[in-house]
């Protein structure tokens, strides 16, 4: 049965690819959504079956066929459902379905063939994403990993006639491929080290071993895999593709570049938790990169004027949180945040999409304002999403974020905690800056209509999200409130169900039980610390919202004056730290110049080909000289014979 979960969206893809052009739009959109709904249904059934099993040994396995086999290198298409992948398939199919439904309305202005193309890509994405999270070995995971990258490429560049969209798609693919080089090498090394690429067998092989004290083969595998994760999950130094990926249609940003694909790197670490646990050096690197990315991206989120780019930097920042959690060994907390983030970030993107839809393509916060009256559903749901991501107590983000911050502190990394807490403050500020600029205050309309992407007529008549868009917003808003309660902390009398549910996925089969006892003992000791940290971060969240209200609602001039006071800092932030420019100068241009001027136009055409042509010329000229000897004249031949004879006789006489 497991195979049907990815297969149903694949079926949707095939139908829309081959028949989509001839189908009416309602059919192609409906079919794609139905495929997702069916996949969600099958997922629920399978997860229910999983829950019926005894905790600790929960898994469902299906091997479809042997894909590649060469000697002892055997790659079967095996799907394995365990607690971790169970959570992931529910997110992918559930939120995926909502976004499909939303898209049927959002993409309504596209002509039928383009509409079908959009949904076929979306379904294909779901197929690969489900393959990724269900894969039982590295290679099948990599198939999903590359497949979602392809769909991301195709969907970012969906409006391919726009050069910036085509550029952004290509950038996403290539930056991801940089990470993939690391991923592939990590997988190769894992195969040589363990003789298998099955996750469970690798974990079992590592189980009895102690974590590597020095940086060895296991650490190198973990590091190489993490390089792959920094590409897919947009972490320093490879995060630069994600802000540009906002060129794609907004539901795509919600599904691929917020809720699912970009979390694949976090998932990768969770899937290989045992491996990473055995590489403590690398875990520290993961934690540091995660924390730095969280604060670095958060900074740029503070000043962006494009509504989607604010959210994009926010996503990078939140992914940093997840890596921070993974890095301090709090795998369940990281995946928990992945789960809650999927709800509120999808909600925020879809809300932004509703705003953009209502404003006929306007994405600039400077030309919004006062929308809460005209777009009540969008406003209220967006507000819930913002409260959730800011970490206001009681909403989803609060639980998962506090779990991460607490575990970071408890693991003995107060500095990383401080960075995380600072990011938390920033998150509240930039999110409520966005809320206040877009939905509160006076309306600000763009006057230079030349730059208005969709003309001015739509501004006159604002309408809230139609039903197909409104319902997903409401459902996601409910999720953004409730999703946190599956991880209700023990200190408030909760069971932290999610952590116990996921734990078997993060431990080697043999040692799972012994660890569980130790965890419980460690948890009980520090509830007081946890409480203090929760209070601190709640205060930070509220303070951030209050500060944003001061800056963007009550005294709107202050932020501009701040920008004037610190012009350099402001320019640095607005220009995204000049990172794209630095990469271009450091890597892109030198490689182009090397290839063009040195390799092609000197080495290839002058040196190598020059040598070849030189040999040709020499052969030709030698032939030319030798030819003169063959004159056909008897006297010349006779002369040369005579000359030769004289020389030979002379040689023997005088030697």
């Amino acid at each position: 049965m497991l195979i049907w979960i990815p297969l149903l969206p694949l079926l949707g893809f095939l139908i829309n690819t081959f028949a989509g052009r001839r189908l009416p739009k309602a059919m192609s959109g409906g079919l794609a959504s139905l495929a997702m709904l069916a996949a969600f249904g099958v997922s629920v059934v399978e997860v229910a079956a999983l829950l019926n099993q005894a905790p600790g040994g929960r898994e469902l396995v299906q091997t479809v066929y042997t894909w590649i086999a060469s000697g002892d290198f055997q790659i079967p298409v095996t799907l394995r459902l365990d607690p971790l992948s169970a959570l992931m398939i529910l997110v992918v199919t559930g939120i995926g379905f909502l976004i499909h439904v939303y898209s049927t309305a959002y993409m309504h202005d596209e002509p039928a063939p383009e509409y079908a193309r959009y949904f076929s890509y979306l379904n294909l994405f779901a197929f690969f994403m489900l393959l990724l999270v269900l894969a039982a070995n590295f290679i099948i995971l990599f198939v999903g990993w590359e497949g979602v990258g392809l769909c991301s490429y195709l969907l970012i560049g969906f409006w391919y006639q726009k050069p910036s969209a085509a550029d952004a798609g290509k950038k996403a693919f290539i930056v991801n491929r940089i990470g993939d080089v690391g991923f592939i090498l990590g997988v190769l090394l894992a195969f040589v080290r363990f003789g298998t690429l099955d996750f469970q067998r690798i974990a079992a092989a590592l189980g009895p071993l102690a974590p590597e004290a020095a940086f060895g083969a296991v650490s190198l595998i973990a590091l190489l895999l993490f390089i792959g994760a920094t590409g897919k999950s947009a972490q320093i130094p490879l995060y630069i593709w994600l802000p540009d990926a906002m060129e794609g249609p907004t539901p795509v940003s919600a599904l691929i570049h917020a809720a699912t694909m970009v979390t694949a790197g976090v998932y990768l670490i969770g899937r290989n938790a045992v491996l990473f646990t055995h590489a403590p050096d690398v875990l520290l690197i993961v934690a540091v990169i995660g924390a730095l990315t969280a604060v670095w991206a958060g900074m740029f989120g503070l000043v962006q004027t494009d509504i989607k780019r604010v959210l994009a930097y926010s996503t990078v920042s939140q992914l940093g949180y997840m890596f921070l959690a993974m890095g301090v060994g709090a795998y369940a907390a990281g995946i928990f945040h992945l789960f809650t983030h999927a709800f509120f970030k999808a909600l925020l993107f879809l809300g932004a999409g509703a705003v953009i839809h209502a404003l006929a393509g306007e994405q600039d916060l400077r030309y919004m304002g006062g929308l809460r009256r005209d777009l009540p559903i969008t406003y209220w749901t967006f507000l819930i999403g913002s409260l959730a991501i800011a970490g206001v107590p009681g909403l989803a983000g609060f639980f998962s974020k506090d779990e991460i911050l607490y575990r970071t502190f408890a693991s003995g990394h107060p500095w990383l905690w401080l960075i995380g807490a600072a990011t938390s403050l920033m998150t509240a500020i930039y999110m409520f800056r966005l809320v206040f600029l877009a939905f509160h205050g006076p309306r600000r309309v763009r006057h230079d209509h030349d730059h208005d992407p969709a003309g001015s007529h739509a501004h006159a008549h604002l309408h809230d999200a139609p039903r197909a868009m409104g319902i997903p917003l409401v459902v996601l808003a409910l999720g953004s409130i409730l999703a946190g309660y599956i991880g209700f902390p023990e200190m408030f009398g909760g069971a932290n169900w999610i952590e116990h549910f996921l734990e078997p996925s993060f431990t080697a089969p043999a040692v799972a039980e012994s660890l569980e006892g130790a965890e419980a003992a460690a948890g009980a000791a520090s509830h007081s610390l946890e409480l203090v940290l929760v209070i601190v971060s709640s205060i930070l969240a509220l303070a951030g919202i209050a500060l944003a209200a001061q800056l963007y609602l009550k005294r709107p001039g202050v932020s501009a004056r701040l920008a004037e006071r610190f012009p350099r800092l402001y320019r640095f932030l607005v220009n995204k730290g000049y990172v794209d420019e630095i990469y271009d100068e450091l890597f892109v241009q030198p490689v182009k110049s090397l290839s063009d001027n040195v390799l092609w136009n000197s080495l290839d055409t002058k040196v190598i080909d020059g040598a070849v042509n030189g040999v040709g010329t020499i052969v030709g000229e030698t032939g030319g000289v030798v030819r003169h000897l063959q004159t056909g004249s008897m006297r010349a031949y006779a002369l040369s014979v005579l000359l030769g004879a004289v020389l030979m006789v002379g040689y023997y006489l005088w030697r």
Binding site: I139, V143, K170, I174
Partner: protein, 501 residues
């Protein structure tokens, strides 16, 4: 008799065409196509009759030819050559279809040369006698020379002569080595022989292995082409007509890597293992170098040509690793490259038929105008950059696994090829197909014709099929590959002095 029939069928077709009046072009085209399709059917028949569980040569035919010198007509296929024969059968009809509208001049001679070339190519893959092999090897050059020199583009004569001199330069060395081998067999056993299987079994002294391997490998390295013997390739491709490029990239380049697998490595196993790191060094340089140079090409055909240098570097790396994954990946990648690069040349040919230019800068926004062509183009592009689910990935993965086991350093450099191929292919794809239509001449181009679809869709379908179900090919191939690997490693442990004193 099936194998002999496979060699003779295209030549027989060529003979029929030779007797037809040159003015009946339509008839000639159809006859040539029919012959090549029948030939493809025969190669499939060969495949179905092939015993995939055996490592031995099958369909063996042997007749004494020049008994005094130990020359036999000795042919057969194993799991390695089988698929290269099928590939030849698969690509030739596509190449003929591609020239349907682009070749108007001397259709009779054109069709005749293509069919003759097919016979020679099949002959190379099935020869088990070195003399016979050499005859076919050189026989290939003649039709290819004319295909480039007569039906090529502006600098076709220069390119044709460069092609022939380069390859002849290599072949001469190989001929000397072949004769030496046969003579050495005579010196040891009292009877000279060109029989490959007998020569496999003959223990060779270090000096002979050293020079023999170098001579053979020189000939094959030029053909592959390995860096730095590749500069004939861009010229030959750019000037060749589409059909010529398809066959050149699709089949002819594999002669080099096939030669390494069939002759250079098993004949001179100790020298091969001694030289393997150097060969792998050239291979990985080729992977990176070909990719970087491909990146900056303004001409589509040159870009694809340099990308071939990069892809064939992967193949040579897999062979150098000389373990089951490496060699199996290499042979699979030969097939992949044949299909996907053959298809790329078909596409470039279709664009050039429409616009009479191959400069990337002349295109842009074609997706809007040519949606079907662009879809095929996209799939082939993705196959070429090794996207999982398409054929290229399987080959590259196996090669990397093999290379990594052998020496991780080469695999690490080669893995960057995975990144670079995405850079040059996607950048090219974007400049040709995305963005607005900037050039008015591109605005009203016709999409794929029925004939073009018949040329292109089979290749696209193969890219998907070979990516999803590689075991169809890998399984019957494995016994032969395993035997080869064991054969090359047979002397390991015994000290055979390779360096000449």
């Amino acid at each position: 008799m099936l194998l002999t029939f496979l060699v003779l069928a295209p030549i027989a077709g060529a003979a029929i065409i030779a007797c037809t009046s040159g003015r009946r072009e339509a008839l000639i085209r159809r006859t040539a196509l029919a012959v090549s399709v029948v030939e493809f059917g025969l190669t499939l028949l060969l495949w179905t009759r092939f015993d995939g569980t055996s490592a031995e040569f099958q369909f063996i035919e042997r007749r004494a030819w020049i008994p005094a010198f130990g020359v036999d007509y000795f042919i057969g296929v194993d799991g390695i050559s089988l698929f290269l024969v099928v590939l030849t059968g698969f690509l030739t009809p596509l190449a003929l279809l591609s020239s349907w509208e682009s070749v108007h001049d001397r259709v009779k001679e054109f069709s005749l040369f293509v069919l003759a070339l097919e016979s020679a190519m099949v002959g190379v893959f099935i020869s088990l006698d070195l003399f016979l092999f050499y005859i076919f090897w050189d026989a290939m050059l003649i039709p290819m020379y004319f295909l480039i020199g007569i039906w090529g583009y502006d600098r076709r004569v220069y390119a044709a002569i460069k092609f022939i001199l380069y390859t002849m330069g290599g072949s001469v060395l190989m001929l000397v080595a072949i004769l030496t081998l046969a003579y050495y067999h005579g010196a040891v056993t009292g009877m000279p022989s060109f029989d490959l299987l007998k020569l496999y079994a003959l223990p060779l002294p270090g000096w002979l292995q050293f020079w023999g391997f170098l001579a053979f490998t020189m000939a094959f390295a030029i053909k592959v082409p390995l860096f730095p013997f590749h500069t004939w390739l861009p010229d030959a491709h750019v000037e060749a007509p589409t059909a010529g490029s398809v066959i050149l990239a699709g089949v002819l380049l594999k002669m080099g890597t096939y030669g390494l697998v069939r002759f250079a490595f098993p004949l001179f196993p100790d020298a091969a293992l001694y030289f393997a790191p150097y060969l792998a060094g050239l291979a990985v340089i080729g992977i990176v170098y070909g990719a970087l140079v491909a990146m900056v090409q303004p001409d589509l055909k040159k870009l694809v040509a340099y990308s071939s240098v990069s892809h064939l570097g992967f193949v040579a790396l897999g062979i150098s690793a000389m373990n089951v994954q490496g060699v199996q990946g290499a042979v699979y990648q030969m097939l992949n490259h044949g299909v996907s690069t053959g298809a790329l040349f078909l596409i470039v040919g279709m664009l050039s038929d429409r616009r009479h230019t191959r400069l990337i800068a002349q295109f842009g926004g074609l997706k809007k105008v040519l949606p079907k062509l662009t879809t095929a183009f996209l799939i082939i592009t993705l196959a070429s950059i090794g996207l999982p689910g398409l054929n290229g990935f399987v080959g590259e993965l196996l090669i990397l696994v093999g290379a990594f086991r052998w020496d991780p350093r080469y695999a690490a450099v080669a893995a960057t090829g995975v990144l670079l191929s995405a850079v040059y292919m996607l950048w090219m794809f974007q400049r040709v197909n995305y963005g607005p239509v900037t050039n008015e001449e591109n605005a009203h181009l016709p999409d794929l014709t029925l004939r073009e679809r018949w040329a292109l869709w089979p290749a696209v379908a193969m890219c998907i099929f070979m990516g999803v179900a590689p075991m169809v090919f890998l399984k019957p191939m494995e016994p032969s590959v395993t035997r080869l690997v064991e054969q090359v490693h047979r002397n390991q442990g015994q000290q055979v002095r390779i360096l000449p004193r």
